[in-house]
Symmetry: D2
């Protein structure tokens, strides 16, 4: 990490970047209220920091050995980021700002009619962003894999429905990207690219989606510790894209016998992560619990824990959904959740 | 399980109980709005249910193979319990009723002066029950084990301080029982007997504390699934004591690398458990997170999830505490937590 | 699943396949000693099995709802596979047959000289297949990612060294494929394509590597249960490629405090998996333990548990390795391991 | 820890012990080939080590902050223990020496006839120690809890059968102690006291059994890390009883879906623990896998990993056993296991 003097010139900054590239590393230039800081991206062990320390405009040059640094709060404090959290703008929606953000929609897009009807419902309920899965990751190759599995044409058609529904009801849209070859196509149609829990460790996919310069929602893998989760978010930041929305969606349960929930929603991870990074973090109570009847309570709990918003699976008739019907709620129920969460938020923020 | 006819007489009930005892089993007689139900306690495989079905006053006799049944909601619905949850009365405090309950105090009792000062602080902050550890379970035999480790005399002295502090500030008191030989002594001085997470599986200890006919607070073991947790609560109920307060205090973390919290607070367990049993459930954000700076958020989150109250470690000067200083909050901070929780509670209850 | 009559003709089989494709599903045709069985690949819920049951040559048509079936032992017994386990042939090496197979080599390829020297060493030690990482999955973007990270040219050069070393010392070679865009390139140079633990859930990558018609070594994810592991192997089989070599490499540790091993090597998974599938299973004691001093014992233990071979990281000078030096052994130590394992194998096989 | 000079006199040693007791701590005096070392037992923070350093005969005085030290290899090396591992003698059986030790018998004692028949069978099969459960820890209060649950008389009768069977077939006997009130009774009848996995954390029970001066077999809790396991063994050593036999019996499984084994047998813990402590360690493949058909392989694997012996549930007719029938093997199968293990042991030892 190279800390520039407050008075360093653009030329001096450019020179440091040039020197970094000579080592085969990338440079992350962050300009803030106090100064410019240049993060080295890649294996720093081969770098001579004493060489950098004497370059014009450099205040300090040091090796940082933590697995994530570009997204760390310490880094943002060093150069003086304008606010404590990064606010990510998608259309007219701000994620990580004062207002909560609700992402809702069906687990899987099934038809244009289904999607439009749900989009209308969630909009009325107060949701901000429309979700809909087209390439579904599934534990069994013999389960329905989403319309994206039926070939490029059907995938593109489903994507166009999503885009159209978003425009019609004035909501940005998000869908999951499961493989590298889907990135270009999906990026044409959606506003936010989602990396699901199962793909969190897929560093090549992370680099590829990062390159589209669109916001990315990264879900925590169910077997990942918090440090690991942030280390893989760093893979996205390393490509120069810091519009990263983190999402806690439950980790592996521990213990014998029936568990009553699908995963363990790790809500303490929410404030713990907020102490570590300036990136916003959401929660997904639908996948975490796998139970419609727990969504209300766990939504309120996630907001009380400090989450910047929620991702909730919604369907007008959960019983007929092709995937995950047991954990979806209706738009009417969503409205109750959103209203309660808004009030919990105001209460918790005003108290702190 | 023997379901009696609505019009069954006391004599008929007594006869069924007598027949159950012939098999070497115990009988749990529950009288409700609808009828009387008699649960068999022990190994039912040797019982002839057809024999019971024809006894006078018996409506139905059937084997139930779930590991917990006396504490299950299904059981309470069968005989018609007066309310959805059992309200446990300790002095003038009701646990599991409409009002939240806050248990606070130091991890370990260190001196009379320390305890009185903390008791005064938490009372002012709005807490209802005073906690203080005298027999401390520790991972290392070379750590401070609480004043109880210094022999019966010192243990009794510390217990008398606890009792005195409770009386002075009008709060029931609770302390942890770690071994069978401590039960009689502790039961003389405290209002609620606590079984810590490490002892949850200790069925002989559970039976022994149950026999004192005082309310018992049972913490979930950090390696126990929900079904297991309830199955060990059933060991207490099987002794005829149903004044059981459950407490979620964090389970083993999953994942590599630094974890940032001591355990994983499983808040979805709170509403999930409430669907299974009529017993009240609290949460302990102090032990779960091991971090003072996360207690506020996780307290609010636990209440939003539906918990009936909290157990929070409190000390006027956490830095000088002999055990767990890093997770204690001050009485002033406790007041903020309690106030926020009360408002979250009202909000969540009014919305549902 | 469609079970054909023993006397079914090729025409009848082809007709069934044609009908399956009408549903948008793929057909897996397995011919054995007893009969031909046709597995449906994909979402069977939309299929009318009563329609298939009456087609000429069909004995039975039924829905199978397990997440893996094409790789299951039940399936292979149904059509009568010639042996209990599938023997996978790579050059002159048989995997899953009577002889144990040892895969060895450095964690990361660092230079041609390093690779040749290690290849010579492991060949003398008795290893059969040469491994060498070129695209390394790492928890930190700031760690050395393998020579593959330096661009296509360097990746190709490193791959050519691997291929050359394999030819020179007459060993098939294997390397890890981390992303979809690497598959075509890597498949030109190596004999076996490896999917690392972190990518086990990456179903698009699995489908892509499967399509190269080369044997695939699939490592179990450290957060995956056995059923899940097999369900993702099924993704490969579903593409028509059943040359799948499974590999147990350790799962997430459970419990507080220091753990002394990196992961938990789940050796009971070895015989448990052998009861479920006909695919061969290896073990990787290097990654599982992360400790050179445990490799000998855990290698012998894995073979005693029934593993068909081992993958062991080897380096002539572990101390100077760029990645994972603490878990590599020398070629001399490898020889001791292989010798001991061969004798354990003979002993265990002869006893059973 | 106080390291005495080689020439220190008994009087000087006694003086140091006296000084230690003034602090309310206990002293563990270990005499070896090189010198005498005195371990402080309890909370060392209140001790002035500079005071000890100047006492006559003292070479060095220092605080040791690890949770286990009395059982650590470093400690035994310091004073010069005669061999690398402590050999625990029970009757004519040595545990932890050159010869493997096999403990076998039924999960639960059901009748005298059953026990004698099994004892005869396992003796012929080559087992050394007879096990039989009388106080059974169970997940459900409604399951069979062992004959010990029927009152003191029946418990004593069952214990006398165990003792008689041991004498008749010349094998020491072992049974599980579940609660403090059972210790005195059980210690009258058996040679080794077993603490089951569920009670590993029960420090009061550990102290109580330690006081009987009989060897103790301590099973690892299924949620305990290795460091924790050893820290609780230290509770026994702290009472002056170092005849501790450790036993790995499987930890909590990780991962979704069916798991195929009951727990995860952590065999790498065997050699890892052997690097840390001089205490012998066994493995229990029966409880770990919960599957009779995996016992042979996992037994051989445990011995290959370095275990000093095994504990295996055995019954002449597993199908009629009241508890755990699905994981028991017959005496004939036990003979095959023991024979194979003996050969694996010779092979692995001769190679190292």
């Amino acid at each position: 990490m190279i800390i520039m003097k407050a008075e360093a010139t653009e030329k001096e900054i450019a020179n440091v970047v040039k020197e970094i590239k000579k080592y085969g590393l990338k440079a992350d230039v962050s300009r803030g209220e106090y100064r410019t800081v240049i993060g080295l991206v890649g294996d720093e062990r081969k770098v001579s920091f004493s060489h950098f320390a004497v370059l014009p405009g450099v205040k300090e040059a040091m090796m940082v050995e933590t697995p994530y640094k570009l997204i760390s709060k310490e880094y943002s404090k060093l150069f003086g980021m304008e606010s404590e959290y990064r606010v990510i703008q998608v259309g007219n929606v701000s994620i990580g700002g004062n207002e909560l953000v609700f992402i809702a929609g069906p687990c899987a897009v099934e038809s244009k009619q289904q999607l439009l009807r749900i989009a209308e419902g969630i909009k009325k309920a107060g949701a901000h962003i429309l979700r809909g899965g087209i390439f579904k990751p599934r534990s069994s190759v013999h389960s329905f894999q989403g319309l994206g599995a039926n070939g490029r044409e059907e995938a593109e058609e489903a994507l166009s429905w999503l885009s159209e529904a978003g425009k019609k009801f004035e909501m940005p849209v998000i869908t999951e990207v499961r493989g590298e070859t889907q990135v270009d196509l999906i990026a044409e149609y959606v506003d936010i690219l989602q990396i699901g829990a199962r793909n969190m460790y897929d560093q090549d996919l992370l680099a590829k989606v990062a390159s589209k310069n669109k916001p990315i929602l990264l879900k925590r893998h169910f077997g990942a510790g918090i440090e690991e989760f942030l280390s893989f978010a760093e893979y996205i930041a390393a490509e120069g894209n810091k519009d990263i929305i983190l999402c806690e969606r439950g980790i592996l349960p521990v213990g014998k016998g029936r568990n009553y929930t699908r995963y363990t929603l790790d809500l303490a991870a929410v404030p713990a992560i907020q102490k570590e990074t300036y990136l916003p973090i959401l929660a997904d109570p639908s996948h975490a619990t796998g139970r419609r009847d727990l969504v209300f309570n766990m939504s309120c709990a996630a907001i009380a824990a400090g989450a910047s918003g929620l991702m909730i699976e919604t369907h007008y008739n959960p019983a007929e959904a092709l995937v995950d019907g047991q954990q979806m709620i209706t738009p009417d129920e969503l409205k109750e959740v959103i209203d309660a969460c808004q009030r919990v938020r105001r209460l918790v923020v005003s108290t702190q």
